[in-house]
Symmetry: C2
Subunit: 169 residues, 2 copies
């Protein structure tokens, strides 16, 4: 098993699910004849981040992990999305980026030291700790918060939308 | 790298963080002189599960994964928790259970077929798919929803409470 196998396929499946969830939110608004883009600026609580930031940060968590683990630079996405169509395109762009990685680009990733800069600190992690304690928890946090925010906004979603088509035998 | 390494330490760190988050919610209520146990039955939306179920399901996701990957039977927890003290104890009990596992109990886990019964279906997964596409996403979903629910209920929490003390160099 490699760090590729426990990160990229997870990001990809969940990002596809997130895209479908955003599309359901658009359909929900259209059926009720309100502007779907209202969702993009909705928040669960006044000092929590709005939907567009949740989606952008989930995207950053995924592309940052792919880049750091393969020793490359992530593309900079400008975080300008304010409509649902733009957010869906952001997720698609992230999926396209991740699909470009081959497992062998992660060879030796286990021995990498990953540096993460936060607004107040800089952390150096062993690659495994970075994946299991930083990248994955962060990624799922923002996807789940996006889900919860839309669910709280009345969109009919269930766990199956979040888990998506899990490969099984 | 083994399936132990990408599941059990993640569950343990996040469960410890969840316990601290629940304790912060109790302190928040006590400081404002309202009954902390009100939180246990709060929901983000009427047809979403309340906090006590979110915590119970996160616990089940973690203990179910540990048991299935090691070829053992998970202990049955009765899901009777209705107070914050009981929910904190449930998390502690789950932590104790997970701490009892040794990495070598997961030897050969990669080749296991994991069966999961849902109310409507039964799925057989390759162990890796079960971990990366089922157990971890489910676990983080319920922990994040518990966090969002308390955050929405006014408890002062930040991402650092959710990520906790990530091991770094």
């Amino acid at each position: 098993m490699s760090l590729y196998e426990v990160s990229i396929p997870t990001f990809l499946l969940t990002l596809r699910n997130l895209k479908a969830i955003l599309e359901k939110a658009v359909a929900h608004a259209e059926a009720r004849k309100f502007d779907p883009n209202v969702f993009a600026s909705q928040r669960l609580f006044p000092d929590m981040l709005p939907l567009n930031r949740q989606v952008q940060i989930a995207s950053d968590a995924a592309k940052g992990a792919a880049a750091r683990l393969s020793g490359t630079e992530p593309p900079k996405f400008e975080d300008t999305e304010t409509t649902m169509a733009e957010l869906i395109a952001r997720v698609s762009k992230t999926i396209d980026y991740l699909q470009g990685f081959k497992p062998e680009q992660f060879d030796g990733a286990d021995d990498r030291i990953v540096t993460v800069k936060t607004p107040r600190n800089e952390f150096n992690f062993k690659a495994l700790d970075y994946v299991r304690h930083w990248a994955l928890p962060n990624f799922f946090f923002h996807v789940t918060t996006a889900y919860a925010l839309l669910r709280h906004g009345g969109v009919e979603l269930g766990k199956v939308d979040y888990l998506g088509p899990v490969p099984h035998l």
